[in-house]
Assembly symmetry: C2
Homo-oligomer: 369 residues x 2
Amino acid sequence: MADVEKKSLIDPFGMTLIEDYEKLFAEFGIQSFKPLLSQMPNPSAAMRRGIIFGHRDFERILEAMKKHSEFAVMSGIKPTGEFHLGTLMTAREIIYFQQQGAIAFYCIADIEAYEDNGISFEESKKIAVNNIADMLALGFDPKRGYVYCQSREERVKDLAIAFSRGVTLATMKAIYGERHMGLYLSALIQAGDILLPQLEEFGGPKPTVVPVGVDQDPHIRFTRDLATRFYGKYGFIPPSSTYHKLIKALDGSYKMSKREPMSYFTLDEEPEVIAKKIFYAFTGGRPTAEEQRKIGGNPEICPIYDLYLFHFSEDDKDVIDLYNNCKCGNILCGEDKARLTEIVAKFVKEHQRKKSRCIDKAREILEMG
Amino acid sequence: MADVEKKSLIDPFGMTLIEDYEKLFAEFGIQSFKPLLSQMPNPSAAMRRGIIFGHRDFERILEAMKKHSEFAVMSGIKPTGEFHLGTLMTAREIIYFQQQGAIAFYCIADIEAYEDNGISFEESKKIAVNNIADMLALGFDPKRGYVYCQSREERVKDLAIAFSRGVTLATMKAIYGERHMGLYLSALIQAGDILLPQLEEFGGPKPTVVPVGVDQDPHIRFTRDLATRFYGKYGFIPPSSTYHKLIKALDGSYKMSKREPMSYFTLDEEPEVIAKKIFYAFTGGRPTAEEQRKIGGNPEICPIYDLYLFHFSEDDKDVIDLYNNCKCGNILCGEDKARLTEIVAKFVKEHQRKKSRCIDKAREILEMG
């Protein structure tokens, strides 16, 4: 790969399309993450690369990290299938905060899987064993974490019941629209999940960060509101949140979706299958190699670039080089895909190998949680 | 008391003001209880006297009673205060069915007390000890019954969660109007209570009767609908119900209410206080004794007559005589009240004496349930 001419080199991470998110900042009160970045003791790749672009009350978490005082990270997975690139993102955020000193809460959202998708708790449990094994293989430390199923965590259900008294139908409709009771109940249960780390049994009120995609912000606002309303009884600190961008769908469609198997891959797929999905992936490249060399590619719209950016390059410099080499026409989509295919295959093989040794532990954790 | 002239003697129990209830029968599909009465092996006073005027699917219960096959009775109390004449009614119905062979389920509705009245589970528990002692003093047999608190009965909460997926917001609004989430959740939990006796842990699907006031019929319809919808998973038999009339408020107001202490009395009150309430009670009497003797009283509108009819006369003949003597002007309100005061005082003293010996047992039951 030819070196990028120094004069044209730009930092793509600073280019976070803030304009897309200005509405979020202005209308919903989400704060930009950028001003906090320089203060972070040890920012994650997603933070450094502008994937995490926004937050609510993250200062509280930053302070806890700096002072090495107690804080929690809380998120979970709806057990509907294998780990994919979206769940991988959240998993890495949880593991990052855990490594930075947080007590990690990881919820198997089997009530939500039932309410949203009609999946029984028994089915969820089978899927969850696999999901937890992924977490362990990725570096989640069960000794500093609490993994549980919603359906068996009575404290979460009891919080949902307590909160329900504070919530009007108008509030539910404003946030979630006109939905069935199960969805409303899920929302209350999710608020219970987010505030669970602050119960006395877990050491009482503490700063808690919930890393989510921006589409999850209504849940965060709802829960922050409940935290304030039920302060008198529980002493809750409103939960903090970070917002990450969503990785682009491989096939150029609107978003990764189970209905479009070519739009994503999972960590359980055969490397050969993944290779094929990468081979057929949409890119930001030009119609011909000649044109590409002449005017350069467009990484901003490219899912292949996103895969490096989000998950498959540990070195920021490598990603910056890739961006600029693409922009300058120094690299063609074919080469780019071939290199990625190798990296992904290596990662997935190694992950599957590690994971196979985590299944028993995952099962054990699930039986306890 | 002079004997009633035989020619004027009518049976007041047959006079159940069916016309008032015809709408219920015609529009809501509630059935008249009367045709079943003659088939009942051992009808209760409330059945014989037309206080229980309607039912849904009671044939199923009747059959179980005749065949001595398994069935359940289910009801409960919202622990917001002392046993009054309304809760006494339900208590007697549960005890009656228990004595006829039913397994009795008695729910301490502390989630409802929280959602409706803001009473904490701790407060509810204190009140519930007193309520359960009343049940025991009235003859409830804990060995053939299951007494539990909603807040600690996980199976009920799990049923509510399961049911929520089957319920649209439109359904909730149609039944309960536009209310807060807590009330909707209460309704789902109440459906869980009613269907709890049919879970495998309690021997599986069985006919279950829920004795209620007719104002509770929306809950019954809602639960019957859920029973049908979730038949596939649980095999539920739609619950049966009986409907009783409401006893008239002592002070002639619309209904007994805590806001009007003269409208009712509780089983914990001093007989002297109760005597006073009876003394000042509204009656169906005429302005003067002369007029009363001449044209007779009006027991249909009289709360004093209702007290005999519902609770304080064990002998049907005595109530019939009272009705007719009143109608004929043979008895004046003063005498009637004096006799009732004595009966009630005797009952309450005896009840309080029995109850004082049941408190420990009540506490023990509550700790288990």
